[in-house]
Amino acid sequence: MPHAKTSGIAGLLLLIGLSPLASQSEAVVALRGAVIHTAAGAPIPNGVIVVTNGKITAVGADVAIPSGAKIYDVGGKEIIPGMLDNHSHIGALSTDLNDFPMVVGPQHRFIDALNLEDKDWGEAVKGGVTTIVTGPGSGENVSGEAVVIKTFGADLGKRLLLEKGGMKFAMGPKSRERYPTTSMGVAANLRAYLIKTKEYTAAAKKWDDDGKKGTPPARDLGFEAMADVLAHKSYVRAHVHSATDVMTLLRLKDEFGFDLTLHHSTEAYKVAAEVAKRHVSAVVLPLGDRIGLTEDAMAGPYVLWKAGVKIAFHTDAPVISQKWLRLCAALAMRYGIPEEEALKMVTLNAAEIARVGSRVGSIEVGKDADFVVFSGPWYEPKSRVDLVFGDGTAIYDRTLEEK
């Protein structure tokens, strides 16, 4: 899957924004004694993580700790990568999520609605979620471009991983409350817009090819945004529940060639082979302790995983608070997904599906030092988040909170 580049000013800030204030000695941090679940290999009992200037510089069982490092003794604890919630709607006012009258609105960019004062950022950190995809929707057929962003820090430029974090489609049932009112209507609407986008791109190219003579074609932000999707600079994140609508999306993908991820994906398990065949990833919200899906639907992620579909879990926060993302994966373990695989579904898989797998999602050398120290197994409801590290800094410490 092609990776979109971090765009514009945000990218620049990202490059120059790495811990410029921390002195060298303070910038080296080491954790030792815990079981480390890296999401990229077997668990390391009694492991060591070394962080330098916000990046992971060593991880393993026999790792020397540089002198002068700030050492955290976390014996008896369990460490996992900072989790990534692949689908949420936090960080904006609820009235900024849906532009209902605009049934197809790809020109909308979630970055223009971001509210860094939202208290949900802090809730996410407390739950060990250090990166999220958050975006608009899902009241429209196309709601706009999501962002991939870290949940901590005051510097937006440093927090933002992807400004073009994926184009939100919604196949209903919510969008059906408005025009168009049927699955057929939604499909026709999307297809018509995608065709117009191709025509728009073709017209622009023709003007280009003809030597840019005369008045250029009028620009249209919506078509431009959708053209980026068709050019693989962004991709489709489709809210979809029914197997029928999953198939419609797969047909649209076959027809227009865009990169696609499924979200909610409630009935995707019924067409798992079709999804797997096209290498489409599925982001799943089992909704288990929310509204109680059927046992068949709860076992859906297992079916998808067995079929070879790359899956991640999401909270749809604020629907489920991000701090319970880990329980979405834990519930899946009940239906047969092994522990370390389930962990990947809220870490590395989630990051790869969000196209930021090179930066976050696992405890590996070179990656951002985002990780979570748990009091016990990460999947047990009773376990608590003790410490959260973001870019190598302790951004949550339970003992401080409880004082």
Binding site: S94, H241, T266, E267, L287, G288, D289, R290, I291, G292, L293, T294, E295, A297, P318, V319, I320, S321, W324, L327, A330, L331, M333, R334, S375, Y379, E380, P381, K382, S383, R384
Partner: protein, 426 residues
């Protein structure tokens, strides 16, 4: 594992209910028994007969001819009780839209344990969605769009027929303070537009009911008023007022009403109840908390978090340490075919979260068993493994508060009504 039950006889048991129960004793032995009425019994034995628990302990003899269930390595505990749900109410039956005050409405007259319209087979009632999570008893209330929605009922999730699942009816009168009733009323341009109106409407109704009681006492020939009769049951403390109140202000209003009219109060929701914990404790008002891992919801998909806040994980322990009796409930409704209202299936897992925040394991389990039973007024029948109580018993594969644990067997009134992976499809 082979099914140890063979002979079923029909017995008539108390309260006019008729349930299938076993003449022959069933003995569950070898497991870690969590009675909820004392300390855990490692390698304990539970004996059921005639639909009741007849013996629990470490050194209990097995009656001759009993069916034996080997629970070695497993856990045995009483059935889970979900102290607040809207399960079994169809979409149109969740809220009475014509009137914000309907004390005459009885949930039992809309309660549907028979499954989807036109689907399913005749026979005994089995709510496998809830049974699979070990929920054997639940309170069903009208949803929260009315100031006073009506009378709730306590039912079991399995039984021979509708009459046979009713444990207590009416079991409470359900009222709501806060935004939900206002929202509907505003859309219909009727009262209550404000919290002031909600409380004034309730206060006026309680006064009317007092006047009605008095007048009826002087002249029994007065025409009956079903609504005022129902409110009268609250005034005479036959049933409690269940008042959904989340903010400390709404909880204060509920406490004021209860003091003024002398009724028993149960606070439902209670998201900010810890702010009122001292007063709730001194007034002996229990709290039925919503879920911890999801926003407290009744029937809205994405709630306004001001009024449906996620319960702070520290709330149960904070209330408990102040001396408030706490139950943790789902407040779940059904959402159609994909989501048949099975939140009860996850109640244990949700409650387990509180275990990380200052509640002991036993405290957590009490919040979904004996405390719930006491709050619902059915503790003489359910809520603990105590001789004489209904034989509502769970066998679990492991620690009840672990994510890896499954409820393997569920007995209701001594009858095996759910077995993991075997009985859902019946």
């Amino acid at each position: 594992m082979t099914m140890p039950w063979r002979i079923l006889l029909t017995l008539a048991l108390g309260a006019g209910t008729s349930v299938k129960a076993q003449e022959r004793a069933i003995v569950i032995r070898g497991g870690i028994v969590i009675t909820m009425a004392g300390t855990r019994i490692p390698n304990g034995t539970v004996v059921m007969q005639g639909g009741k628990i007849v013996a629990v302990g470490a050194n209990v003899s097995t009656p001759a001819g009993a069916d034996i269930v080997d629970a070695t390595g497993k856990y045995v505990m009483p059935g889970i009780i979900d102290a607040a749900t809207h399960i079994g109410l169809g979409g149109n039956d969740l809220n009475e839209g014509s009137d914000p005050m309907t004390p005459q409405s009885r949930v039992i007259e809309a309660y549907n344990p028979f499954g989807e319209f036109g689907g399913g087979k005749p026979g005994p009632l089995r709510n496998h969605e809830n049974l699979s999570g070990g929920v054997t008893t639940m309170y069903v209330a009208p949803a929260d769009r009315a100031v006073l929605g009506g009378q709730g009922v306590v039912v079991k999730t399995a039984g021979p027929n509708l009459d046979g699942v009713i444990l207590r009816e009416p079991a409470g009168l359900n009222m709501v303070l806060g935004e939900p009733p206002k929202e509907v009323a505003r859309s219909k341009n009727r009262d209550p537009f404000t919290r002031m109106a909600e409380v004034a409407m309730l206060r006026q109704l309680f006064i009317k009911a007092q006047e009605y009681q008095k007048a009826k006492g002087q002249n029994s020939a007065l025409p009956r008023d079903l609504g005022l009769e129902a409110v009268g049951r609250v005034l005479t403390r036959e049933i409690p007022a269940r008042i959904e109140a989340n903010t400390s202000g709404d909880i204060r209003s509920a406490l004021r009403l209860s003091q003024e009219f002398g009724f028993d109060l149960v606070v439902d929701g209670g998201a900010w109840a810890y702010q009122m914990r001292e007063e709730l404790a001194s007034r002996k008002v229990p709290v039925v908390l919503g879920q911890m891992t999801t926003p407290f919801v009744s029937n809205e998909e994405i709630p306004d978090r001001t009024d449906y806040p996620t319960v702070d994980e520290r709330t149960p322990a904070r209330l408990l340490s102040a001396g408030v009796k706490v139950a943790i409930a789902t407040f779940s409704a059904s959402f159609g075919s994909l989501a048949p209202g099975g939140q009860g299936k996850w109640l244990l897992i949700d409650a387990a979260v509180a275990g990380g925040y200052g509640m002991s394991d036993e405290d957590v389990l009490r919040a979904v068993t004996i405390n719930a039973a006491e709050i619902l007024g059915v503790a003489n029948r359910v809520g603990s493994l105590t001789p004489g109580k209904d034989a509502d018993v769970l066998v679990l594969s492991g620690d009840p508060l672990s994510i890896k644990t499954w409820v393997e067997r569920v007995y209701v009134n001594g009858e095996l009504v759910h077995e993991k992976g075997k009985m859902e499809k019946q």
